[in-house]
Symmetry: C2
Subunit: 284 residues, 2 copies
Amino acid sequence: MRCLDPVKVIEVSDATDERLADYVRLRDVNLRKSLEAEHGLFMAEGEKVIRRALQAGYRPRSFLLTERRREALADVMEGLAAPVYVVSEDVAHRLVGFDLHRGALASFHRRPLPTVEQVIADARSVVVLEDIVDHTNVGAIFRSAAGLGVDAVVLAPRCADPLYRRSIKVSMGAVFTLPYARLDDWYAGLGELSRLGFRLLAMTPAPGSVPIAEALAGTGARDRNALLMGTEGDGLSSRWMEQADVCVRVPMVDRDVDSLNVTAAAAIACYELVRGRVEDRAAG
Amino acid sequence: MRCLDPVKVIEVSDATDERLADYVRLRDVNLRKSLEAEHGLFMAEGEKVIRRALQAGYRPRSFLLTERRREALADVMEGLAAPVYVVSEDVAHRLVGFDLHRGALASFHRRPLPTVEQVIADARSVVVLEDIVDHTNVGAIFRSAAGLGVDAVVLAPRCADPLYRRSIKVSMGAVFTLPYARLDDWYAGLGELSRLGFRLLAMTPAPGSVPIAEALAGTGARDRNALLMGTEGDGLSSRWMEQADVCVRVPMVDRDVDSLNVTAAAAIACYELVRGRVEDRAAG
């Protein structure tokens, strides 16, 4: 086991120490949103996710390790300038607001997001999320989209943050690897996708929607499809529905189930979106 | 608005009142498991889910409403003998261990589960869960399976309980309508499915598994398929894999994503399992 460069390792015994300010009250969503926006940071939790953030080229501001896990990331810390704060489990609890079972946190600098034009330039399958509220759902959708082979994600201006701690965790780090961008303009933002030749498929269980497999039948290798998914509960706005080329749904039976949850629906829809391409790849 | 029969409504101001014993410490999983097993009860939370339990014919032991929600279920309570306990929000919090935002709980009598033979007798598509640990995952799988049109679920002896509060909630009540049974015998239990003509499809990302769509291609209207899904993380046991007729997977691209989460994988697999049938139904 390698040991950390001793000059970088700083033992801190006071949970209110200013140097630990990036890590305060991790479950206080409102506080975290403003703190992370103000300082342009995001929080990665657990060794696996921290490693993935580093692999993806994100630059750490600092690390926070509990005493028991103080050597946890020694192999990847060489050559990094970021300080490593080591705290007792008790200090960790008082600082972040819960037991830090995984024993490792890191604060990273955010990067400027690419433009929508950049992320869709070479994409053929894109998922567009309008105002998904729940960070768990955003993370789960990124995980499925990345795993199944969707090329990019585009977010409406008010969609929940993929780099929020909970989104990152649920995505298993897929938010670091799957390119995404955020629309500036909710009202007219889909226009750019249309201009670049994307067919807009609006996910909705509404009458008149067609089964997604049917809508995608005959999709060729060069066709561009963008799947629009709306907020939990209410679904897509009427503005976005009107701009869609086709309304699509996952076929359901008539039981007492209202609908699929958004992550199940997203998994199936992404699966259909990339189906032909993944089969091509396997065959090739 | 109808008013409740006054003789059934009992205001209780003491969180330790024995009559409220069904409702204690709802987040204490170990306590709840033993309490619910001992008394043969389960706990439904929120109006919608309680209504669905009643619709499915489950018999209530009692209801617990907060003062503000005391008339919430008046329309369905007529003719029911179960007492309705009304408590302040403060008593509710001390009793159950958290803020009862939805303001309505009900304790129901469990029913004896049907046998595996009974639930699969007329089924063509069955999901078999081996030792799923997490109640959220069990609930989410039931919701997808019910919504997509799977006929029945079979559980390994150690799979988490679909009638646990969290499973019920996440399933949106699908656990009440989708027939399920539990195997007595983990080791030899799949034999019954095979004897009844079910082809056993084992979900696994292991090399040698075939894309699930490929494995199901050519499935006729009378074919019987059982999809086996294993525990979070480790997947199916080697015993069950050996008994499967074919190993299947959801095709993935090679990114930094380990795998789909079990509920996303289950949604896609259930979608494929019933695909031909739902299309038949829509066409017919």
